[in-house]
Symmetry: C2
Subunit: 318 residues, 2 copies
Amino acid sequence: MKYFVTGGAGFIGSNLVDRLLQLGHEVVAYDNLSTGCRRFLQAAEQSPRFRLVEGDTQDTAALGAAMRGAEVVFHLAANADVRFGTDHPRRDLEQNTIATYNVLEAMRANGIRRIAFSSTGSVYGEPEVFPTPETAPFPVQTSLYAASKLACEGLLAAYSAGFGFQVYIFRFVSILGERYSHGHVFDFYKQLLAGPDALRVLGDGHQRKSYLYVQDCLDAILLALDQAQAPVNLFNLGTDEFCEVNNSIGWICDHLQLKPQLNYTGGTRGWIGDSPFIFLDCRKMRALGWQPKLRIQDGIVRTVDYLRANPWLLETRA
Amino acid sequence: MKYFVTGGAGFIGSNLVDRLLQLGHEVVAYDNLSTGCRRFLQAAEQSPRFRLVEGDTQDTAALGAAMRGAEVVFHLAANADVRFGTDHPRRDLEQNTIATYNVLEAMRANGIRRIAFSSTGSVYGEPEVFPTPETAPFPVQTSLYAASKLACEGLLAAYSAGFGFQVYIFRFVSILGERYSHGHVFDFYKQLLAGPDALRVLGDGHQRKSYLYVQDCLDAILLALDQAQAPVNLFNLGTDEFCEVNNSIGWICDHLQLKPQLNYTGGTRGWIGDSPFIFLDCRKMRALGWQPKLRIQDGIVRTVDYLRANPWLLETRA
């Protein structure tokens, strides 16, 4: 099978590329290397079944040409910078909404009709039901990031209804693991490396969050594509637990054997649009036989180990 | 008060312009006259408190300049061509999603923070709950049109969270009345004018739909802006009844004293993304003291009378 992976040089994308190659498939990764790392593809680039195309999802001609011959598209390329959305509102519109439209149109031009898409649990806004199921009450958006991801979901579903696409939408909690290169564990680790005596924490530390290990995430995605055959397949992806940011800090500091002073910025949210509680109901995905292998604590520790073993990554994100 | 109305030369927009002028306000209408009619603004243009700016929502410079000094924006400009979305998928993206982003950015540049937006009951896709409340289960989109309107809703809510906007989102059923110039009553009337002996009906005629008279719609919008003061105010707008397309045909034909042969194209949907049943729960809006004055049948009859009295309108939409 030939797969096309947008954002294929990114954290999740490059792990997916490796997995697909291990399974014997052909893979074209499409990435503008703005936040993706060529170095994540070192192993992949040894394979004759792999090709990296450096290109932007705004470049519709290059996108359409690179996609030719693929049978399934994984669309992971996105602006994933949730916190600073209000500094540059056009970015989510272009890199998420319009980019997804471009991917769908390139698929149509190439006669490709199967797509998997990385959405986010943030589309639930600030839900009142926990754990939050896929059929939660129609939410009100609280960030430009989530609003743009919801716009993408709508496009995928409409392309399914209008053009017979088969679409897979995954609403992720935060993903952790090897090649993780932005988010709170990354921020905390970087801070502690620069000064192990103090840690600045956004909000009051009581925000409740969910995390999923990247390999568990990929297991779920591949299983869903194999097992679920509706026109629109929508799955929450997370673990059956959540933790407080303070728990996470404890695990990180214990693992690094540090006791920094914690300086909270205060408030129940880390930033505008930060959700104080994310906990997804993943029974629909579990019903297909999937379950995550790593608990949140293990995923966080493994991520810290990865960052410790890869200091170059922190240098490239200075 | 100074109001800015995008799509101000359109069906609903021009009726809103007239209403705002009657209430003594200043109004700037912004319209590219692609589907809007200058003739709808004949009365408005007599007023020194009114100005029409011919411009496109894609022209961000013109949009920003025209908006200067306004206190509230009514964003009604849109591609409302639901049926042919799959013929030109870029149109909903540009004229709805990106246009709304442009309007929000123009507001931000001008320091305007209050906006009312015309969304659609189609964002509920094919719901399982009737009448469908604003908090219905998170829907799956079934048309490019509704997907783009949902994307706009998300942008408005995110601008509320991120930039302190106060937003009003109205999910309309189909609106009828004076200056109505597209949709099923228009299509049927035009067909019967061309040949009174036969009528081609999309689907099986059993599609259940809801309609609201345009003046009732405007009553609701203005009342909501006056009474509801949350950051994000979301209201369904419809009547407490629905009808079959066949009922509507009966009322139209009785009123015109015609007995055409009905030729059904068949199937439960008139077109891709057509919802076989639209019936909104409007208790939230009614709780503010609003109620529609016209029943569906009366709205349809009044619309036919309007079309009969204004043959020029049918000529411009040949």
